[in-house]
Amino acid sequence: MNAPVSIVGAGLSTFGRQPDKSGRDLALDAIHAALDDAGLTWPDVQVAFGGSDGSGLADTLVADLGLTGIPFTNVKNGCATGGSALMSAVNAIRSGAAEIALAVGFDKHPRGAFDPRPEDWGLPTAYGEAGLMVTTQFFAIKIARYLREHGISERTLALVAEKAYRNGALNPNAWRREPISADDIAAADMVNDPLTRFMFCSPGEGGAAIVLASEAVAARLGRGVRVLGAATRTRRFGSFEVFSPSIQGSGSPSSVSADAAAAAFAAAGVGPDEVDVAQLQDTESGAEIMHLAECGFCKDGEQEAMVAAGDTEIGGRLPVNTDGGCIANGEPIGASGLRQVHEIVTQLRGEAGDRQVAGARTGFTHVYGAPGISACTVLAV
């Protein structure tokens, strides 16, 4: 049931604007990079899972990969698309259905904010006409309340974004590679109080692919990173999500991220205190702050001191979003979850170059997205 599964290959496309490439091109770039990394070729892959939010169906990629006849399942799970694909690949290997599996996620979003339709979210069209179909409002309302409840300053929001751009500058594949000072981030145009323009990630472009294998294959290939635990969850009663016309129940909202993280840690048999490097969903800098607590890395309110002390910096006690996260890499919805896994694999192998976390042995990834979904992994060497 819980047969060991390892990641034997990880690949990314270039992230950021690439006018000459389609979303499918980015997926193919990522898959080829992951296969090369593993020392495998497409005919070695026995089962595949993947998807995008708005750039087409993953199973059509076989036209360019090779028609080998394998099962290839499309996944469409919002920001958790990559995480759900990875979970399915892990389960395929655990079940004995395959020894080598592929997970892929990709997207190529147009410039500007996402353009959701109220009717697709079960809301009257009036919500759009009134100006409430704006994703950034949700993040701002959530972090504004969190800052007040737990005595965290708005300065900490700017410091988290500053770290993202600083880490992005160390990552040759990042979209945003120019450091921006916390002062400039804080002084930028306000989008939704307390979040300024430079605190948000932007819809972007990219592909990410992960090759997973059974213990026997991983031993043959070498360089395997073990999947100690992986879990995906949907929201439970009382949660607060983007485009919620109401929040039901009393007390503090429930957290799907907390549920997914706890399940991944329980499956792994390790705790948050044993993690050396983490990737946390940073749709905006406040999300990274809240997800530190929701995933179990600190108590509510401790983030102010953690960030001030540099705990989440490369070289700190718990480096977070060492590749610059969504803020520096952009948000191609289908790709982000597997980009996070790619970064942890790179860190645990000691191949992260200028942004390497010294001696990292155990890592964690967390994605969160609408309409209340989360996927987490615990990885180790």
Binding site: E129, A130, G131, D189
Partner: protein
């Protein structure tokens, strides 16, 4: 004023939903009845929309876009409703008592200061 929002209440566990739901999010049963929600509540959380949202779908008001507050109002029935928030000053919204002033196109609540001001200028 008699103005109110219509939600639903689960006949099994009493959970209140807005808008009216076809099933209960807490217990998963389908037996719900309509319920009128109170017209006065407390601002649970809020932000300010500083830029005009993308049009369409956003309909720019006559006279042009001005920043507006949006948030969640906690009602006595035990549900927090998303709403546009009228205020005299964005700084007065945190934890403010607010009154329902419109149900269409989306719920809209106003602070006492905003009600006073509109009464004065009306």
């Amino acid at each position: 004023m008699g103005r109110s929002l219509t939600g639903s209440r689960c006949l099994h566990c009493g959970t209140v939903a807005f808008p009216a739901a076809r099933g209960c999010q807490r217990c998963g049963l389908r037996s719900v009845e309509p319920v009128e929600l109170g017209s006065r509540g407390t601002v649970w959380g809020h932000t300010v929309q500083r830029f005009a949202p993308k049009s369409p779908p956003y309909v720019v008001p006559e006279g042009g876009f001005v920043p507006f507050a949006v948030g969640y109002v906690e009602l006595p029935e035990g549900v927090k409703v998303e709403a546009v928030l009228d205020c005299a000053d964005f700084g007065e919204l945190d934890g403010a008592e607010v009154t329902l002033v419109a149900t269409e196109p989306v719920p809209r609540f106003a602070t006492d200061e905003a009600l006073t001001r509109s009464g004065v200028t009306a």
